[in-house]
């Protein structure tokens, strides 16, 4: 399933428990105060559940922004 930016940001907001209004597509998600090991697991679960996508660690480590995540989902 393709990820539209708005839907993706909404799903991300729920997964990492951050106000949707404060998430911008060019943000580096690792800079969020909510970002920690649990947020990572929640993101992985969201990607699997909503988009059927599994991102290998070596690729995930190179992703920086929300846009990178969306691109990765859409290219998977």
């Amino acid at each position: 399933m393709k990820a539209s930016p708005n839907d993706f940001i909404l799903a991300l907001s729920e997964a990492i428990e951050r106000d949707v209004e404060t998430i911008n597509i060019e943000d580096c998600f690792r800079d969020y105060v909510e970002w920690d090991s649990i947020a990572l697991l929640s993101l992985i679960a969201m990607l699997d559940d909503n988009y059927g996508v599994n991102i290998p660690r070596e690729i995930f480590e190179k992703l920086e922004t929300i846009q990178d995540l969306i691109d990765q989902v859409n290219n998977s």
Binding site: S37, I38, L40, L41, S42, I44, A45, D49, I55, R57
Partner: protein, 351 residues
């Protein structure tokens, strides 16, 4: 995929033993800080676990569970044909642990004894082995002992593993009888061998003065080469990918569905993961027992421990269809659909 079907073999009795000593995860505040700790505990759902003393091994816990099982059952020790002992923490490198268990329990020398080792998927695999032995003409009863003491192999300065693991030993009696058919589906993917690992102490990396030293590793975690490492992200990715599919495949194979199965007993890895399976597979929550809240993840022993501590009252009154699913290091995973015909379920033993 290995698909095994057994007819008229089943679980006749189950017992479990945990150490008396309760370890609370609140003591990890020093390691994680209070805010982070609360968030982690909320997600993993593990508040406390049981912990052995240095002198107690998985074999000790299993023997205590087995003794209880014999007291509560009509099966006499003379009727045991095979003992299987599954653990990743056997008493010695040599000899295997199961012959010493035969002696300790006072079983006849005609008993066949075999050690098995795997991981958190181990109960599914070992149970299938027990079912296979019990299917053979001439074999009446197989005693399966599954126990782990991860508190002895996890560093308390490892943020990933320290909050997760507890200790337990279990005994399951498998016999011929009017059980109907049970199926096991077993899988492996060794490409993920590095995801959960104790690197030293085996033939590939023997113990030396270096391997025993605690060292700082990824994310400030401190452990020696003889303590457990886990790549949480890889394991989580793997689990999400394979476990729901394996459960769906087992349901399809047996012609069962979420409504027709009485209980789904998952390996108690952590609460977040089990909640994900429940959501993904649309299983009613009351069909999915949880024991990790008070016992933690006891690796291969989680499934029998959950049967004993959370389903005893249900299992003993009427026939049940129980789906069990385990997954872990290897990587290795498996799912089984068991027909439980009112097994004798002992009260939990504390040692």
């Amino acid at each position: 995929m290995a698909k095994l079907e057994f007819t008229n073999v089943g679980v006749r009795a189950i017992a479990a033993c945990v150490p008396k000593h309760v370890r609370s995860n609140n003591q990890l505040e020093v390691l994680l800080g209070s805010i982070e700790l609360e968030k982690v505990l909320q997600n993993i759902g593990i508040r406390e676990m049981r912990q052995v003393s240095e002198a107690t091994t998985p074999a000790d816990l299993c023997c205590a569970a087995a003794e209880r099982l014999f007291i509560d059952n009509s099966a006499s020790k003379d009727e045991i044909d095979v003992v299987l002992f599954l653990s990743q923490n056997g008493d010695f490198k040599i000899p295997a642990t199961s012959p010493s268990i035969q002696y300790r329990l006072g079983l006849p020398t005609t008993t066949a004894c075999l050690d098995l080792t795997l991981a958190c998927s181990g109960y599914i695999y070992a149970l299938s082995t027990a079912f296979a032995y019990a299917s053979i003409p001439g074999v009446k009863n197989v005693l399966l002992l599954v126990g782990e003491t991860f508190s002895q192999i996890v560093s308390d300065k490892d943020k990933v593993n320290a909050p997760l693991y507890g200790d337990a030993g279990t005994a399951t009696l498998i016999s011929k009888g009017d059980f109907g058919s049970s199926i096991f589906q077993l899988y492996s993917d060794g490409s993920g061998a590095d995801a959960i690992k104790i690197e030293a102490g085996g033939a590939r990396c023997p113990a030396n003065s270096e391997t025993v030293l605690p060292k700082e590793r990824e994310d400030g975690n401190i452990r020696s080469g003889h303590q457990l490492y886990m790549d949480g992200m890889e394991v989580f990715n793997f689990t999400l990918k394979v476990v729901p599919k394996s459960v769906k495949d087992a349901l399809a194979e047996t012609g069962e569905n979420v409504d027709s199965i009485d209980f789904f007993v998952f390996h108690q890895a952590n609460r977040f993961m089990i909640d994900f399976f429940v959501k993904k597979l649309k299983i009613p929550k009351d069909k999915v027992p949880i024991s990790l809240d008070t016992f933690g993840n006891v690796s291969s022993a989680t499934i029998p421990l959950t049967l004993v501590t959370r389903l005893k009252n249900e299992l003993v009154v009427s026939d049940k269809k129980v789906l069990i699913s385990g997954f872990g290091a290897g990587l290795s995973w498996g799912t089984a659909m068991l027909r439980m015909n009112c097994p004798v379920v002992s009260e939990l033993v504390e040692l």
